[in-house]
């Protein structure tokens, strides 16, 4: 009861005033100039949105408090009551306006198309069939989804431009704020001068916070009237000709009560398309899920097919070779086991892009294989050690060489011991493969999160996703158990009663 009540009330003006702070949600990963960590003073944040938040809070007579959140989950987090407002480059769309309360705009952005310097691509129309990078949950993504292009989704703002420069994509479509800072500055890239579309950044507030919405809009209008907003934007080099129409809106103070978008169309604006979202999990979604599951399964199978021999080779190096081999294998295991898989994927895909340019799928398979190879190495090392030394001696006494003894006597027995742990690792890999979405591979979990946000429902996509993982892992576990039983020598020991009975 108490919990429900507290959630329901979270975020309206009375709570904000009572608490004395305006909690605003954003993602530091969004980086400069929105909100980011001050490199001079670690732990402190700065950015034009920090200044806007402070100015707004001051108008409300409270302090501003930043709440870190994953950008693509800002809306659900707001609805959960994690904070009072979203203030982080949130674009105004009719769809969002239906879901939450949106303030009047505080900034007008232009969707900027960036291509490689020598490219002949000159407009969105030229991009048919091309690979175009953008961020998930953005208007740019909506525009691209409505166009005949292959969309490549990224998590951070720098990566799309890095990949474009490397030739992994043909263009990037993102807000000019991002393009100006991360894309246009690269010598390999060129930003096209005309905006593909224009839109507004607005604050988001919970459905149950009408008073807060009103107060925020008044505060924004006051900041615009006094010129403080312009000063903040100028300080961050964000003030440009696009901002003029937004200023006009400011005089209108309150938005239409119906929640319809109060978009002041810039003169040449092509309004951002907002495809009518499907509200229910349908056949098309199911197919997308199956496709995601297939990606997960293939990536897992291929990477495990590489990780297993790698692990076996490492284990053998660690147990049967000279000091340099042992040392190398041990170092490999410690490095790959001791650092996060996510980091390894980033390094492999983005960090090493100048040395080897891997496509996302190859990088995903390789990254998982290299990481799991280290785990498999330990599994096989343990299994090899568990075979009694007498077995090696018996094989050697029969005249087998070290390698023959390993191959024909020790390893087959070790394999049986290793199998349960190996199966376990494969199931873990199946789930860890969801991390490859950071290098733009859309696998099952990524498909689920994309869909969940689109459908505003986590239950159906979540359960479907879980069911698919289960369907993939359970038969494998069963199959491994069967193999294990087949490899197992029969356990029933002969009783002493029949000793010599056959003689």
């Amino acid at each position: 009861m108490w919990l429900a009540a507290s959630v329901a009330h979270a975020g309206d003006l009375a709570d904000v005033k009572a608490r004395g702070e305006l909690r605003w949600g954003g993602d530091l990963q969004g980086g400069e100039p929105y909100v980011f960590e001050d490199e001079q003073q670690p732990g402190k944040i700065k950015g034009f949105e920090v200044e806007i938040a402070d100015a707004l809070a001051q108008k409300l007579g409270v302090r501003a408090k930043f709440m870190q959140n994953d950008w693509s989950n800002l809306v659900p987090a707001l609805e959960r009551g994690d904070f009072d407002v979203i203030l982080n480059g949130l674009e105004e769309t009719p769809e969002r306006r239906q879901r939450i309360r949106l303030s009047t705009p505080y900034y007008t952005y232009g969707e900027t198309l960036t291509v490689r310097a020598g490219s002949k691509l000159a407009s969105l129309a030229d991009l048919e069939g091309k690979r175009v990078g953008t961020l998930n949950q953005t208007v740019a993504n909506d525009i691209l989804k409505a166009s005949p292009v292959e969309v490549v989704l990224y998590e951070g703002q720098q990566e799309p431009y890095m990949d474009l420069a490397k030739g992994r994509t043909d263009a990037v479509l993102l807000d000019h704020v991002i393009a100006d800072r991360y894309g246009c500055v690269l010598p390999e890239l060129r930003c096209l001068p005309d905006d593909v579309a224009r839109g507004h950044y607005v604050l988001g507030m919970g459905k149950s916070a009408p008073a807060l919405e009103d107060a925020i809009n008044r505060a924004l209008a006051a900041l615009q009237r006094s010129g403080e907003l312009e000063r903040i934007l100028t300080r961050w080099k964000l003030w440009d000709s696009r901002q003029k129409p937004a200023k006009v809106v400011a005089t209108g103070a309150t938005p239409a009560p119906s929640g319809a978008p109060s978009v002041a169309s810039p003169p040449e604006a092509a309004v951002a398309p907002a495809p009518a979202p499907a509200r229910h999990f349908g056949r098309g979604h199911a197919l997308l899920f199956l496709q995601g599951a297939l990606v997960t399964l293939l990536v897992s199978l291929f990477s495990f097919a590489l990780a297993s021999p790698l692990g076996i080779a490492l284990a053998i190096m660690r147990l049967y070779t000279g000091r340099p081999g042992r040392w190398l294998a041990a170092a490999y295991v410690e490095v790959f086991r001791g650092t996060p898989l996510l980091l390894q994927l980033y390094v492999l895909y983005f960090g090493l892009a100048d040395v080897i340019r891997l496509d996302p799928m190859t990088a995903a398979i390789l990254g998982l294989a290299l990481n799991y190879g280290a785990y498999e190495a330990e599994v096989y090392r343990g299994a090899l050690c568990s075979v009694p030394h007498g077995q090696t001696e018996a094989a050697r006494a029969l005249g087998l060489s070290r390698w023959q003894a390993l191959r024909h006597v020790v390893f087959p027995q070790a394999l049986r011991t290793a199998l349960p742990a190996v199966t376990n690792d494969f199931v873990a890999l199946l789930k860890d493969s969801s991390l490859i979405s950071v290098i733009t591979v859309v696998e099952l979990t990524k498909r689920m999160t994309i869909l969940a946000v689109e459908l505003r429902d986590w239950i159906t996509p979540g359960l479907s996703c879980a069911a698919l993982y289960f369907v993939m892992s359970f038969p494998l576990a069963r199959w491994a158990r069967r193999i294990e039983r087949r490899l197992e020598p029969m356990q029933a020991p002969a009783s002493d009663a029949d000793v010599g009975g056959a003689a």
Partner: protein, 228 residues
């Protein structure tokens, strides 16, 4: 009669500070059965293991079945030697993942490169000889102790060895089974085309007396008593 099949020329072996074997000197004639007896820790098993290179010697020289073992032998030399010198371990050490037949065929196929049908034929004959003709498809875990011992014997003989080393072949067996093994051993020595020489370590003085041509007693790492 002929030249000795085994010559031990001043064998010395130490484990750390402990001198286990002190200048062992002895010859074994082809076709002889020699029992090696002595108190626990007297170095019997160590001497046996030195004979096929499972333990390296620190001093002296071993001539066995036409091979020579010196301190610091090469791996390749030992591998060649072992193809001619079979060994049966106290705890048998059958390969649990293989059938009885495959336990016998493994070494001939890999070491001597015998074709599978030939290896199998020889293995089946040996299994008949040790009275296990019907157990070729069994796993070691399905066998009794005496049956395991017989499989281990057959496995050691599967590649026509000249010398057979046995470590406590009857220690884990009851009296009846022990007698069966002794009978099989006798038949094997007699029945083989080339004379088979057997060196066995045992605690069982009765076995030593009844089975062997010679009994060696190891005391403090030296052969104190050689009874022909």
């Amino acid at each position: 009669m002929s030249t000795p099949v085994i010559r031990l020329l001043g064998i010395g072996k130490r484990f750390g500070a402990r001198q286990v074997l002190r200048g062992i000197q002895a010859d074994v004639k082809p076709g002889a059965i020699v029992s090696l007896v002595g108190a626990s820790g007297s170095g019997k098993t160590t001497l046996l293991r030195c004979l096929n290179g499972l333990e390296t010697i620190d001093s002296g020289r071993i001539q066995i079945a036409g091979h020579t073992v010196e301190p610091n032998p090469s791996d390749a030399a030992l591998t060649q030697l072992r193809a001619d010198v079979g060994m049966v371990f106290q705890d048998y050490q059958l390969f649990p993942h293989l059938t009885v037949l495959d336990n016998l065929c493994l070494a001939p196929q890999i070491v001597r490169k015998v074709a599978r049908p030939d290896a199998e034929k020889r293995a089946r004959a040996l299994l008949e000889q040790v009275g296990l003709g019907d157990r070729h498809g069994s796993r070691p875990s399905e066998l009794s102790g005496g049956q395991k011992q017989r499989v281990a014997l057959a496995r050691a003989l599967a590649q026509d060895v000249k010398v057979l080393l046995l470590d406590e072949p009857t220690s884990a067996l009851d009296a009846r089974t022990r007698d069966e093994i002794v009978g099989i051993l006798r038949d094997l020595v007699k029945g083989s085309g080339e004379p088979l020489t057997v060196l066995l370590v045992t605690h069982d003085l009765h076995l030593a007396e009844t089975l062997s041509d010679e009994v060696w007693t190891l005391v403090d790492g030296q052969l104190s008593h050689v009874k022909a």
